[in-house]
């Protein structure tokens, strides 16, 4: 009897003990291992003899995110009278050089008491990456003279290097915005969707049963997928954050949300939000879209499938699943860029109204023009970025480029129409401001319909639909 009671008690103690011991592990697995975090992932590569235990790697991509951030910073702060050779050289360094000597400082984000960051130099994350080598090689019809993507950025950098603050008010070019937004497309989006998630997700290219390159700890497919994730720019723990938190991380306003491992500093490799993921967060926090988590979730799901193959060649069904997820990622990514085009076309529309008022009243032009050129730079940069993807929607792009022009319509109605052999802008008389405003409306219609946009920020005609709704749609058969 005593034995039986003892056995029962023992059983209960064991059950409770096991449960209490398991609970903390379950909690840990909920935050690290249940698919909410991108990485770490085990080494699956057959025959790997090195010491690494994590096959996840996208350091080169984060280095490029930091170079992009820093490049924008220099362009906007640059001073052509700088005795060290002017900002042009410095800008080109961030665009073209590989930080082999670990001498490239991270200019954005910089450590502060409110938002301390772990790394100070780009080389602390990766020492062999640059932006120029990964830029879109195709001819760009959205910019004069059919330059390649890299040449367009180089051209803009050279122009920006000669102007204080990077804004050419004569021709209407806001280079910090143009360079930043176009680099996001021509390097980050282009590499991810027109390379890593495109041809590198076919069976024969970068197979999963071989290392990505000799001596690597990861397979071809693992690393291709990781690289695309790095270009997306989301923090590894994005799925645990709200869109607003992710947005505030990019804005360096929410250390608590960023510092996932609670070591008191933000690891710029894993814990920061960059570029496209930042824009996705910005649209999602409005509540109408879910780009950030759709894309990040698809990246995590895809990585799980690749990891589960355990270093073997991906089966055709796994390959199909991966390609489907790549499609989800790139179509949503494309929509994020299209949402930005839509948003800034709306901003430009509003700004043009203020430019018209300034022209009429004879005051306030500087302020109105500055805002207009900033928003136009963002609009043009994103419109060019949209064209850096894998899809060739020539008709849509042609219409977009035609309506936008190569430069903004200036208050004196002049507009850049080309570039001469010496690299100077050629200008001509453009349409009226009212017509150019109409073009912005048409750009919103074109992009909004073509990409089935939902966030539709700054919708210039959105108020009409809301007003009609308020007035009550009269679709009933009634006499008066």
């Amino acid at each position: 009897m005593i034995n039986t009671i003892n056995k029962d008690i023992l059983k209960k103690v064991m059950v409770v003990g096991t449960f209490s011991l398991t609970l903390p592990f379950l909690a840990i697995s909920n935050s690290y291992g249940d698919g909410h975090i991108y990485g770490p992932n085990p080494i699956t590569l057959k025959g790997y003899k090195g010491s690494k235990t994590d096959s996840t790697s996208y350091t080169g991509q984060i280095a490029r995110q930091l170079m992009h951030n820093s490049l924008k910073k220099i362009v906007s702060k640059g001073n052509p009278s700088d005795p060290t050779g002017g900002p042009g050289k410095k800008m080109l360094k961030y665009f073209e050089e590989k930080d082999k000597s670990k001498s490239m400082a991270i200019l954005d984000p910089k450590s502060s008491s409110k938002f301390p960051v772990k790394q100070k130099m780009v080389g602390e994350i990766s020492s062999g990456a640059n932006l120029a080598g990964k830029s879109d090689k195709r001819k760009q019809v959205s910019w004069p003279n059919n330059m390649s993507g890299g040449d367009v950025i180089r051209f803009m950098i050279k122009k920006a290097g000669k102007i204080s603050g990077g804004v050419d008010t004569r021709n209407g070019m806001n280079y910090p915005q143009l360079i930043s937004k176009y680099t996001m497309g021509a390097v980050l989006y282009h590499q991810a969707c027109d390379n890593y998630l495109d041809e590198k997700m076919t069976a024969s290219v970068k197979p999963n049963n071989k290392p990505y390159k000799k001596g690597a700890a990861y397979t071809g497919k693992e690393h291709s997928w990781d690289e695309a994730f790095g270009y997306w720019g989301a923090a590894a723990h994005t799925m645990t954050l709200s869109a607003k938190q992710s947005y505030n991380v990019a804005k360096k306003k929410d250390l608590k949300a960023a510092d996932f491992n609670k070591d008191g500093v933000v690891d710029l490799y894993k814990e920061m939000t960059y570029a496209h993921a930042y824009y996705a967060s910005a649209f999602d926090k409005g509540g109408k879209t879910n780009y950030l988590k759709t894309v990040t979730g698809a990246f995590i799901d895809g990585r799980k499938i690749i990891t589960a193959a355990n270093g073997e060649k991906l089966s055709s069904s796994d390959l199909t699943k991966i390609q489907d997820l790549a499609q989800v990622i790139c179509s949503n990514w494309e929509q994020v860029i299209a949402e930005a085009v839509f948003k800034y076309a709306g901003s430009v529309y509003k700004d043009l109204g203020k430019v018209e008022s300034a022209l009429k009243s004879g005051s306030g032009m500087d302020k109105a023009l500055s805002k207009y050129l900033k928003h136009w730079g963002e609009l043009k940069g994103f419109a060019m970025a949209l064209q850096a993807g894998p899809d060739n929607r020539s008709d849509t792009f042609n219409r977009l480029n035609r309506m936008m022009g190569f430069g903004p319509l200036m208050p004196n109605l002049s507009q850049v129409v080309g570039i001469d052999s010496a690299g100077n802008y050629i200008k001509d008389q453009g349409s009226s401001i009212a017509y150019y405003k109409l073009h912005m409306l048409k750009i919103q219609n074109l992009v909004g319909d073509h990409y089935a946009l939902k966030a539709r920020a700054n919708d210039a005609t959105g108020g009409m639909a809301a007003l009609i709704e308020k007035m009550g749609p009269k679709k009933s058969a009634e006499n008066d």
Partner: protein, 338 residues
């Protein structure tokens, strides 16, 4: 069961929406006005007033019952066809975009004008333009034989109840949707442009303030047997219920009169205004010649289509003969040739 509740919800939606004329609140205010009118102007007892207003011979007349059926069936017809009908947004966008190509009208930047004057002006302007377009379309429905085929469904009502407003052929319903899309779209497009998108509607309970007042002060009595008259001077400005009841009269002398909805001055301008008389006795419906539409739902839907097609065919035949005469082609030879 869910479908049943959805159906009930669907049927009752108009009665719970203050943007609709038959909103319960407006029906209540209308009957209250009627009650006070009969009690104090006609000076009959409380009990008699009650039985006069809620006369079951009216609300359960064959004509009224067909109105109820038409209301329910038309709801479904309009739901099915509404996605393909021209929307206000399309017209508003066209007007808004067109205004960017001209110079005579420019957006207003003044904050006071945009925030205070524009909403009031927009609300009033829309109400007036909407009312005029209703007058115009109504007049055309009477004057053009092809359109009259459909509008006579509304005039075939032999008793008037607030639900008679829904006694409408669906084709006429589509014409009204088109009218609404054009007027609402044009006014919105124009005001949206001049205010740089900063317009709003002045509302009460979500309804245009002017529509709210119009309905609150007895718009439902237009389609009723309560013949409330206004002072003569007011009947120059606003259409009284009794004036609209004249519009429904069988008498030839009353035909094509009082087309207006809210304002009477449209009729005054176009020479179709008739004033009401206290205690006027009016027989509603169509003249004997046209009164082939009975209160059979099938006939109500089909007869106007058949009649309108006959009109179109007659016009077509007449024009073919005219064309043949013009080109000196003998109709006989033409026929023989074939």
């Amino acid at each position: 069961m869910d479908q049943f509740y959805n159906f009930i919800d669907f049927l009752t939606s108009n009665f719970l929406d203050p943007k609709k004329r038959v909103f319960l609140g407006y029906l209540f205010s209308g009957f209250l006005i009627a009650f006070l009118w009969v009690l104090f102007v006609k000076k009959i007892s409380f009990k008699q007033t009650f039985s006069y207003i809620f006369d079951k011979r009216i609300y359960f007349a064959k004509s009224a019952i067909s109105d109820y059926f038409l209301y329910a069936i038309n709801l479904f017809v309009m739901i099915i066809f509404s996605p393909i009908l021209l929307s206000q947004l399309t017209i508003a966008t066209i007007i808004f975009e067109f205004l960017h190509t001209q110079d005579f009208m420019i957006p207003i930047e003044n904050i006071f004008v945009v925030s205070v004057i524009i909403p009031v002006a927009f609300t009033l302007c829309y109400f007036i333009v909407d009312d005029f377009s209703k007058f115009l379309v109504h007049m055309l429905m009477h004057k053009i034989p092809f359109l009259w085929c459909f509008h006579k469904v509304h005039h075939s009502a032999e008793v008037l109840t607030p639900i008679t407003v829904f006694r409408t052929h669906p084709i006429e319903g589509f014409i009204f949707v088109l009218r609404n899309a054009i007027t609402q779209g044009a006014v919105i497009g124009m005001f949206y442009f001049i205010s740089n998108g900063n317009i709003d509607l002045v509302t009460v309970l979500g309804a245009n303030i002017f529509s709210f007042c119009f309905h609150l002060f007895g718009s439902n009595l237009r389609h009723s047997h309560i013949n409330i008259c206004y002072w003569r001077w007011l009947e120059h400005v606003l259409i009284s219920p009794a004036q609209h009841q004249i519009h429904h009269s069988v008498k030839k002398i009353h035909h094509d009169k009082n087309f207006g909805v809210t304002f009477a001055f449209w009729d005054l301008i176009f020479g179709s205004l008739v004033f009401s008389k206290i205690n006027q006795q009016i027989k509603y419906g169509l003249s004997k010649k046209e009164n082939y539409i009975k209160h059979n739902i099938f006939q109500i839907y089909i007869f106007p289509i058949r009649e309108s097609l006959n009109i179109l065919f007659t016009i077509f035949k007449k024009n073919i003969i005219r064309l043949c005469n013009f080109f000196h082609v003998s109709v006989f030879k033409f026929k023989k040739g074939f």
